[in-house]
Amino acid sequence: MGKNSLLHLFWTFFKIGATTFGGGYAMLPIIKHEVVERNGWIKDEEFVDVVAVAQSVPGAVAVNSAIFIGFKVRGYVGAFASMLGAVLPSFIVILLIAAFFVEFTNYKIVAAAFAGIRPAVVALITAAVIRLGKPVVKTKYNLLLVCIFLLLAAVFDVHPILLILAGAGVGLVRHYRQNKKASEGDSA
């Protein structure tokens, strides 16, 4: 099949989706290898753009990059084929697990395994908070913001969507005020 065929696009992202665990940043080097080095669909410096865009819109980075690269190679159908490829491995695997999960947990050994796994999930999420938080809470201002948002979410049960919008709003207001200050400084 041709290098730019829809099937090849689909297959490439299918392979990427099937072999990357945990999602996100772990798959970026693999995506890069496939789309830049192996297939030459985009150039090295374009890949940086793809990643930046994929991270700055909603959704999973892997799915976003697949759509973007698919579009660059073959337009709308290419975007769709690549997206399908990126999504299908997860979809199939999870469907199989979900179909048998309730039956699985009837086995004593599976129930025991999950009794061990559940507390580990707390650790997993806490570790993610620390990993993501470290570069952000370098300033006292950001640390304070994190605490306020945590309080609003955990204690006051504010809807996460509201908090995400509020966060973006805080960033915009701060930028506006800094801009204003800078221009006042210029005119003085």
């Binding site: 665990f21 061990g116 950001n142």
Partner: protein, 173 residues
């Protein structure tokens, strides 16, 4: 129609999943558990674990799983379609119209502000999961051990979960 409800619930979740896969967790907790009651907190924790242990993004994995649990095969199709719809719309718009929008100073300022909110939200999801799972001392010890392994060794999270499973079988089996 429950499949349409699933589609729109996951569209909403997908639309606000900005800044990494785990942002979904507080959104799922709110929309799927509190608002719709499609999932119990314990099921939610199991799904997070399974999503982490299987290939692919957490977003797709949890949408497929929750969709299936709620409404069978078509539930998983609609939930997954919902969660990728925002990706499709945004990426195609950007690819077509404004490839350099992320370099815009206002967009970057919005993102800078978003990050503390996202971290606060994920931390709140950690508290929610802790409340659900840490019911006794043994469970708390499991959590601490897993945390130490994740933080101080270079073990892959999947291996840590596998060890936790093994520990569970030894202790509870």
């Amino acid at each position: 129609m429950i499949v349409l409800q699933l589609y729109f619930a996951f569209l909403k979740i997908g639309l606000f999943s900005i800044g990494g896969g785990y942002v979904m967790l507080p959104l799922i907790e709110k929309e799927i558990i509190s608002v719709h009651g499609w999932l119990t907190p314990a099921q939610f924790v199991d799904i997070v674990a399974i999503a982490e242990m299987t290939p692919g993004p957490v977003a797709i994995n949890s949408a497929t799983f929750i969709g299936y649990q709620t409404a069978g095969f078509w539930g998983s199709v609609f939930a997954t379609a919902g969660v990728v719809t925002p990706s499709l719309v945004f990426i195609l718009l950007i690819a077509k119209l404004m490839q350099h929008f992320y370099q815009n100073r206002w967009v970057q300022a919005g993102f800078t502000g978003l990050r503390p909110a996202v971290i606060g939200l994920i931390a709140s999801a950690a508290i929610f999961v802790a409340r659900t799972t840490l019911s006794d001392l043994t469970a708390a010890l499991f959590a601490v051990a897993a945390f130490l392994l994740l933080t101080f060794t270079r073990l892959h999270p999947i291996l840590v979960l596998a060890l936790a499973a093994l520990g569970g079988i030894l202790v509870y089996g």
